[in-house]
């Protein structure tokens, strides 16, 4: 086994290939946006691509929405530096998908129109539910967006050696353009192209890596174990406190089923059958992707080396591992290609988040709270577009404001709010006849507030970020407490004062939930 010499990396040098690839991607996606813009006039077209996306296409787009640069570069880096532990994280991100399939996808598609709040509000009082659901959605989206923008700025300035500020502004402008002009149709195709590029690129890295090991992953593991000790092949220090493990696991698994930008995608397909198929396709691709990142991580550990990846111990995230591996195995042109793929990944994910934020503002808040449910098509699309511009500017500002901050905990926070605020309200409204408006309202508020408060008191923020001696709340992720708390609040408030109309409507809506009769 000949090991490659420690490479002199060209990461950060202006690469013709990466810039050409980047412009090619932006060019093609802008053409798609132009095409989509002509087909995007009504609200159903803006929010849901006119329900014209097939199950398979939506499956790819869901995978595109979900596979962020953080999971591509971050998990590969985690595996490269810590070995097996990275896989534990990947598995947590995957196992929420079967639950979306079993519990959420079909009722969501049949009952709702554009946002998940449609489902919760279906038999309850519109205004309070829309307000609460907007709080849950917008806080999930905002924290997720901050993490993505800060990650994007840092990453792009490192890969393309441009200024952080410029990187953030470029991302903000390009993604706003997709959403603003092309709505859901353009956003969906950006996701699909990005998913194909990412899956294709990762597959090529894996093949190039395995070509050094006679295409036998076991040989790769053997070299990794010889170099770094057998412990890289089994769980290490990552999960030491079982309560931490359960809490994070809960947030990842149930949070996936409460992410507004993921839930929104189910309205782009024509019916429940296609919604079902899209989850199957998405689960397949996402699982495949995480297997690839596992091998990429080990490849980087062996072919690049921990020392180089962590830049002599200064970078503990290992974010550059996948890119370094791409360069070592495929040369600088291939590195350029993968760098452009990473950029495309970031753009696509923030576009999806922005679209779902804009639909929450226009559909849930503007129409159903301020206009009291009276919608006029043109007016609503106009509001959605203004919201898009607002969110574009906001995301640039947040990206600049949090520059250089450690925002990794915000992804965990977003998942925790999604799991504790959005998921309980959604599942109770689908399954529980006695659920009431007050129950739903306070459950969402309780889940959001308890997640935020507990994360501030957690070791990650209270101790590591704010520099206090000991954390007030012992767990790194709040879901283990905030999710049961939110469920409990929902149940108690519903039992205190039953809502008769809601119970009657629950029976009536079954015809739509289970047979799809009357679904939009």
């Amino acid at each position: 086994m000949i090991l490659l010499d420690s490479p002199i990396s060209t990461i950060g040098q202006t690469s013709f290939v990466s810039i050409a690839m980047f412009f090619l991607f932006v060019g093609i996606t802008m053409l798609i946006t132009y095409w989509a813009a002509k087909k995007t006039k009504t609200t159903s077209e803006f929010y849901a691509a006119g329900r014209s996306i097939t199950g398979f296409q939506n499956g790819l787009a869901l995978a595109g929405d979900y596979m962020s640069a953080a999971s591509f570069l971050g998990i590969a880096g985690m595996v490269a530096l810590r070995g097996y532990d990275g896989l534990i994280y990947s598995i947590g991100f995957l196992v929420g998908w079967p639950l979306i399939m079993f519990l959420i996808a079909e009722p969501l598609r049949n009952l709702g129109k554009y946002t998940f709040a449609d489902v919760v509000a279906f038999r309850l009082k519109q205004r309070p539910i829309r307000i609460a659901a907007s709080i849950g959605s917008l806080s999930t989206i905002t924290f997720y967006l901050i993490a993505q923008m800060v990650g994007a700025g840092g990453l792009i300035s490192k890969i393309f050696s441009i200024d952080y500020t410029i990187a953030v502004i470029i991302v903000g402008i390009v993604m706003s353009a997709y959403v603003l002009f092309g709505g859901m149709l353009a956003t969906t195709w950006v996701q699909i192209i990005k998913a194909i590029l990412l899956l294709g690129g990762a597959t090529i890295i894996v093949l190039l890596t395995l070509s050094h090991f006679h295409f036998n992953p076991l040989e790769l593991f053997a070299v990794a174990a010889n170099q770094n000790g057998l412990e890289v092949l089994s769980p290490g220090s990552y999960i030491s406190n079982p309560w931490d493990a359960l809490s994070l696991g809960m947030a990842l698994m149930l949070g996936t089923a409460g992410l507004p930008h993921i839930l929104m995608r189910f309205y782009t397909v024509p019916d429940a059958k296609a919604a079902r198929k899209s989850v199957f396709v998405a689960t397949g691709f996402i699982g495949y992707f995480y297997i690839l990142t596992f091998i990429i991580g080990f490849g980087a550990m062996v072919l690049v080396g921990k020392e180089t990846i962590s830049v002599g111990g200064t970078d503990t995230s290992g974010n550059m591992a996948a890119l370094m591996l791409a360069e070592v195995t495929g040369g600088s042109a291939f590195l350029g290609f993968i760098a452009a793929v990473a950029f495309a990944t970031i753009l696509a994910v923030v576009a999806g988040l922005t679209l779902s934020g804009a639909s929450t503002i226009s559909h849930d808040l503007y129409v159903n709270v301020f206009q009291k449910g009276i919608s006029n098509e043109a007016g609503e699309v106009k509001v959605a577009k203004r919201a898009t511009i607002g969110l574009g500017i906001l995301s640039i500002c947040l990206g600049l404001l949090f520059k250089g901050q450690n925002v990794a905990f915000m992804v965990g926070l977003a998942f925790s709010i999604a799991a504790s605020a959005n998921f309980p309200a959604l599942i109770l409204s689908i399954l529980w006849k006695q659920f009431t408006t007050k129950g739903a309202y306070w459950s969402i508020i309780a889940g959001t507030i308890s997640s935020i408060v507990l994360i501030i008191l957690s070791p990650t923020v209270w101790k590591d970020l704010l520099g206090n001696e000991a954390a007030i709340f012992p767990l790194k992720n709040p879901a283990l407490v905030s999710l049961p708390f939110s469920l409990l609040v929902g149940v108690i408030f519903s039992l205190i004062k039953p809502e008769k109309e809601a119970q009657e409507l629950f029976e009536k809506e079954k015809i739509r939930t289970y047979l799809g009769i009357g679904a939009e």
Partner: protein
């Protein structure tokens, strides 16, 4: 609307709804069991996962990949069931609704 009520009260429809949730809640519980079982194993029995099953392969690797495969398999099972059984019953009920 009256037709709708007849359907809602029909045994066929009620069995359909019951069956739907018994299938999906069973699958949900299995998935929760697999995943949290895995986490508990990591939290409480790392040496077991570090057991070598061949020279350079620990039990942890096939178990981890097995969970990914089980997620695929279970979504597959659900789709298969829903496409064949569930959808057929839905079509039958809808046909009856249209005939009346």
């Amino acid at each position: 609307m009256k037709k709708h009520e007849e359907i809602l009260n029909s045994e066929e429809f009620q069995t359909l709804v019951k069956k739907r949730w018994s299938v999906s809640l069973t699958l949900t519980l299995i998935m929760l069991g697999i995943y949290f079982g895995y986490l508990l194993l990591i939290a409480f029995n790392k040496p077991f996962l570090a057991t070598l099953i061949s020279e350079n392969l620990t039990l942890a690797i096939p178990i981890g990949l097995g969970i990914i495969v089980s997620a695929w398999a279970m979504t597959g099972i659900y789709v298969y069931w829903a496409n064949n059984r569930y959808d057929n019953t839905v079509t039958e009920i809808k046909n009856k609704l249209n005939q009346k």
